[in-house]
């Protein structure tokens, strides 16, 4: 029997950008994208962690011009498709056009999981430009499988080529993933993908659950490099899916070597589950809030854990990094008032 094909989307150069505070250089991008292209990754995503034009006070400025990085990647990507992330409300169609000129051929249009309609125009614009367009729903733990299907259908109707569910808070347990992916696989006529965070240590398990529920696109990063406790570790996923009898198109040893020889040396810290990222997963908070929360905690003399719990209680969504300062300021004011 022919093995089922699972498409691997590497996002080391996008989600991993959070973990290096958006400091990837053109040389690093060239080495990583070039390496990934050779070992059989299907789609390589390269952008600021919060998508194109995410280089801001709110999300952290990129050390190098983002379009320069996209252009550098395009020169070494020959087999894979080159991808960017675009979050409507941050990036625009004008920015998408510029990314296209610099070599991007796939765009993942990311919205909060209940707000897909803000991305309709971006999906349509991408299709008009001849790009592959993906509807990307974030923070999927906050919506029911039925609600997610309804939102996915908005993207499907706009022309999306597949729908990606993102467990942006790393809150989902395998059963949550199975339920959500199953609802989409049964209700859509386009493929489904999944993006995990490892805040509760189940990124690989959740990716397996997604594949077994019928997802055919899986996001991963070398060494798991990504926001919060990171993403599904690419080289581990490659080995696991191979053992399970799936065809990922990956050269397993090659992937291991890119992770160990190219990516590991440029990491700022080991991608382990410290207390704060664990709290992201436990409280259901957007993973990219992590480093911003450490900074606010230090500035206001607070415990990052308390800030994260309050952010979760307020039901903040992706992109609301500014509210970390708001929460920290209000907590510090209340504490100082009590003294």
């Amino acid at each position: 029997m022919e093995k089922k094909r699972i498409h691997i989307v590497d996002t080391t150069l996008r989600d991993g950008s959070h973990a290096v505070s958006h400091s990837f250089s053109p040389e690093q991008v060239t080495a990583i994208a070039g390496g990934l292209d050779k070992v059989g990754v299907d789609i390589i995503e390269c952008a600021h962690g919060d998508g194109i034009t995410g280089s801001t006070f709110n999300y952290g400025f990129s050390k190098y011009d983002e379009m320069e990085l996209i252009s550098a990647a395009s020169k070494v990507i020959h087999n894979a498709k080159q991808c960017i992330l675009l979050i409507p409300g941050i990036g625009t169609i004008d920015d998408l056009e510029e990314a296209y000129k610099n070599g991007a051929r796939v765009v993942r249009v990311a919205t909060h999981c209940t707000e897909a309609d803000v991305g309709i125009q971006h999906i349509q614009a991408a299709k008009k430009m001849g790009m592959m367009a993906v509807g990307f729903l974030m923070m999927v733990h906050m919506a029911s499988p039925e609600k997610l299907l309804e939102q996915a259908k908005i993207f499907e109707a706009a022309g999306a080529d597949y729908i990606n569910l993102a467990d942006s808070a790393g809150y989902c347990l395998p059963q949550d993933v199975t339920d959500r992916v199953t609802a989409l696989v049964n209700g859509l006529s386009i493929p489904v993908g999944f993006h995990a965070h490892n805040n509760l240590g189940v990124a690989v398990a959740n990716s397996i659950a997604a594949v077994e529920a019928g997802a055919t696109y899986i996001d991963a990063t070398c060494r798991g490099l990504g926001a919060g406790a990171g993403n599904t570790q690419l080289e581990v996923l490659a080995a696991v899916l191979d053992r399970m009898g799936y065809d990922t198109g990956l050269d397993l040893y090659g992937v291991m070597d890119v992770a160990e020889e190219v990516v590991e040396p440029i990491m700022h810290r080991p991608q382990v589950i410290r207390t704060a990222p664990l709290m992201l997963g436990y409280a259901g908070v957007y993973s990219s809030f992590l480093l911003h929360t450490y900074r606010a905690a230090e500035k206001f003399g607070l415990n990052p854990r308390d800030i994260l719990v309050e952010l979760g209680r307020r039901r903040m969504v992706g992109g609301q990094e500014d509210m970390i300062v708001d929460v920290a300021y209000q907590m510090a004011t209340e504490r100082d008032g009590k003294k």
Binding site: T53, T56, F57, N58, P88, G89, I90, T92, I93, D94, H112, T114, E115, D117, V118, I120, Q121, R314, R315, M316, V317, G319, Q320, D322, M323, V325, D326, Y329, Q330
Partner: protein, 288 residues
């Protein structure tokens, strides 16, 4: 009864209806005419309150010699068509859409400087909430770069906003530069579906040349009071926080609850600003 200036509204949706209630409370404005292009709940509501209504849109209002000021609460493409008709009829247009036929106006910043203008553009809700702060900081500290994050409750963002989210960020950016005085700017919008709905919140980051903390704090506090003159629910959540050359300010807008719920502070501030423009114009007309 004191003399008032008659006002028309094109577009009987949420914005138009809230504007109607605000006009009804105004000292100098008299609600007179509400028009749309199809029969709607909004038109019936206006008729029920005793105002003239029509499904002839801009044409009906243009043909009415009594109406002097017209709020266009339709959408950008419609206003592009309506603007010349209103001009021809000698009406002053207050444009609630991002069409930007006329200059941007933020009442506490540049209304006094706009002379002989017959078409005012209200920028965006995010612009009305953040441009005053950027302008205040720019006056004392010289803003090189301004960046704002406007978060709105999902419920307060209608289909128009959702279908044109790029226009929102681009128009707000231009307003921050042209009216706020920032050399460069960036605007971000976030929709949050939390229940109960979140209040409109705006974070304003600026990169300044002269980070004089005392001057910045005074300027911002003074400006907040000026905005409160026409939007009472405008509040400073986080007063200016100066770190090196970076200044962070957070403001919240609670709506007046005229027609729209209080969490729709985004809609309230743009409508309140539009009313402030109309009242100023009416005052000038009445003095003549």
């Amino acid at each position: 009864m004191e003399e008032k200036i008659k006002v028309g509204i094109i577009g009987p949706g949420n914005i138009g209806t809230d504007l109607m209630y605000k006009v009804m409370r105004s000292k100098h404005l008299q609600m007179d005419f509400m028009t749309g292009i199809v029969e709607s709940e909004g038109l019936r509501r206006a008729a029920g309150l005793g105002f003239k209504t029509s499904t002839e849109g801009v044409k009906a209002i243009a043909a009415d010699p009594e109406v002097k000021i017209v709020f266009d609460a339709t959408m950008a493409s419609a206003h592009l068509a309506n603007a010349p008709v209103l001009k021809e009829a000698g009406k002053i247009a207050i444009d609630m859409t991002p069409a930007a036929v006329g200059p941007y106006v933020v009442p506490c910043v540049n209304l006094a400087h706009l002379q002989d203008v017959d078409n005012f553009n209200m920028v965006t809700c995010g612009g009305q909430a953040t441009i005053p702060i950027v302008h205040a900081i720019n006056e004392v500290a010289d803003v090189e770069y301004a960046e704002i994050v406007a978060s709105l409750s999902s419920k307060s963002a209608g289909p128009g906003t959702r279908a044109s989210i790029d226009e929102f960020t681009q128009t707000t950016r231009k307003g921050l530069e042209q009216v706020g005085g920032a050399d460069r700017a960036k605007a971000i919008i976030i929709l949050n579906p939390a229940e109960p709905p979140v209040m409109m919140c705006n974070t304003i980051y600026t990169l300044v040349k002269n980070p004089d903390e005392k001057a910045i704090k005074e300027a911002v506090e003074k400006r907040v009071k000026e905005v409160q003159q026409y939007t009472p629910g405008y509040q400073l959540r986080v007063p200016p926080m100066v770190e090196g050359n970076k200044v962070t300010v957070i403001v919240q807008v609670e709506g007046a609850g005229d027609f729209l719920p209080k969490y729709s502070g985004n809609l309230d501030i743009i409508n309140s600003a539009a009313i402030a423009v109309a009242e100023k114009l009416a005052e000038q007309m009445l003095q003549k």
